[in-house]
Subunit: 363 residues, 2 copies
């Protein structure tokens, strides 16, 4: 029987954060591409667009005008997915399978920069640090509101991701319930913390218990520099294409030197290092296919600023592009009905991202 070769033998890998598997079909990476191609996004946008509802001073569809601003600007979403409290009480369910759970909360839009034509990848480190500070401010503010149980910071970028506006911005949705994916991650982190794992030199979580992500980050940082799944690493943060990556060039970004459960706990040097690694990831993404790379990014951390420290702060980057600036992965068919699947291995993706220039192709 042949010896196992991870670059040619189909296999499955477990995502321990969700307890879901990914089917890896590395032998298939060279099959011809016959699917739909995407429209290339323009890179020659104006610095100011009078029709953009995120540019400074412009009026939004809700009728309000943005302030003029020099760095970041935050406002409440004009079409928020959740509304302020109080939520009405739940109706009586006609059957236990038809229970309704009313939810309340708030949705913020955070404009990263006044310039319409820039992206996170083209902002200075100082400007990225200002975004980090604004995330922390919103996290504190929303966390302390009555009934808020979870604050989700995210960025959705690119027309390919359904994003309507290239102006650099993110969102923050705060809810009276912990959403499905973070709740699943917390449950699996808790299970790991309670389990007996082999001793290691990795940092530990609260009460000296094992932390799955402290352990995972520790393991990933110990491979030789030209091997493994690390894309970029500095003194405090490591960016890896995780072992269980679903998206072709998915990245998991997390602090690895100590157990940090929220952005509000970062020290000054950890914030500076955070800005550097955010810049390095987004620059490499753009450089991969010489385009403005589409992705969804989300920050997972402890549910609110004051909740317990089980969580290990981490960011997911989920970019759809697969082969070029116009050929994307679709999560459809078998993947929607059975299990996520990929052809390119996580190690191959990491090697490509690692090899890219650390300077933006447009700079």
């Amino acid at each position: 029987m042949a010896e196992f070769d991870p670059t040619s033998h189909p296999h499955r890998r477990l995502n321990p954060l969700t307890n879901e598997y990914i089917l890896v079909s590395p032998h298939r990476a060279k099959r011809p591409w016959l699917g739909q191609t995407e429209v290339l996004q323009p890179t020659n946008l104006p610095e100011y667009d009078p029709a953009c509802y995120l540019c400074p001073g412009n009026t939004r569809s809700g009728g309000q005008a943005n302030e003029t601003f020099d760095h970041t600007f935050t406002f409440e979403n004009d079409f928020a997915a959740v509304l302020p409290p109080p939520a009405p009480i739940a109706p009586i369910a006609p059957h236990p399978l038809l229970e309704t759970e009313p939810v309340h909360g708030g949705c913020d839009v955070l404009i990263f920069h006044p310039r319409h034509d820039l992206t996170l990848s083209r902002l200075s480190l100082a400007d990225i640090e200002r975004i980090i500070e604004e995330w922390i401010t919103i996290y504190h503010k929303r966390s302390s509101q009555e009934g808020i149980k979870y604050v989700q910071i995210f960025e959705n970028k690119g027309a390919m991701m359904g994003c309507s506006n290239p102006h650099p911005h993110g969102q923050v949705w705060s809810l009276s319930a912990i959403p499905t994916l973070p709740a699943t991650e917390f449950a699996n982190l808790e299970k790991y913390a309670q389990s007996t794992v082999a001793p290691s030199n990795a940092p530990k979580g609260p009460q000296g218990r094992p932390c799955m992500l402290c352990e995972y980050a520790h393991v990933e940082t110990r491979f030789a520099e030209d091997q493994g799944r690390v894309v970029f690493k500095n003194e405090h943060w490591v960016a890896v294409v995780p072992w269980w990556a679903t998206w072709p060039f998915e990245i998991l970004l997390l602090p690895y030197k100590r157990h940090i459960s929220a952005i509000s706990d970062l020290t000054a040097v950890e914030k500076t290092a955070f800005a550097e690694v955010l810049s390095q990831i987004t620059i490499r993404y753009d450089n991969l296919f010489s385009c403005l790379f589409a992705y969804s990014m989300g920050i997972h951390q402890r549910p609110t600023a004051s909740s317990d420290e089980l969580a290990h702060l981490h960011l997911h980057f989920s970019p759809p592009l697969l082969r070029s600036a116009t050929v994307r992965k679709f999560l459809v068919g078998f993947e929607l009905m059975a299990e996520a699947q990929r052809d390119l291995t996580a190690e191959q993706a990491a090697a490509r991202l690692r090899a890219l220039d650390s300077k933006h192709f447009l700079s």
Copy 2:
């Protein structure tokens, strides 16, 4: 405090098959659409396309030629995601978080009909019955192969879903492991079967135990015809926009008169009724926006023809279109990072599908 109104108050609903929630934001259904639009698929395809690798007699990229055929034709995928046994044995993992599970199996392509220009929605009931018979044949054949633990039948349709070829066809992937989503469903069906639920007139699962889907289908069929979530119902099958639907016009299709755990257990009349409901769903989908509606469809049933009868046979239809033939939903941002979210309620979607003509707009 306002009384709860499911068409205007944000709330969450639980998907009991996956134990995941969906966030419903019905007040937001009227927000302006600013996202990417899709390319409309042509409806004037030729009956035969010499460049199509699925048309009768044509040569595929693997070099083999399709037979000429009158009804259905099945062949092994030239770029299969899994390979025949034996799989190599697993390598020694450098860490418990980096375990590799080798997998083997086979991938079949099932051409639904010789005509290049037709879709399931435009086939005769007799032709759809032939597809059902072919599904059963493949299910039996793959089930009985050494080491196969699961057979996933699915169809991925439309360029919007990354599908490269409009020629009507589906796929069957058979694996040496039960994939994540069906495994999750089986676990939740098992939990329900073991639980104490209120007595009802719904059919029961094996050993007279409660079956979540027998119960759910029973509940849905008892709403008044112009209410609830039923799209179409006949003597044996019901199609509903499930309470927990993620995709705007998602459909769950299942038999409701008795507990049936696999397509191989269907009686002749149940197969005929199955063909009718498949036709009715796909016709209504096409009629909704007068286009050839894209979707992924998957059959969930007992893992193999000979495994135990816990499963309740059902089909998921996951179509991306939201507002028109060119405006789709994107599962991105908050949805990728936290929890699925929708604006249109399941009841509103069901009412729209129910009201459509049962005759195809191109006929």
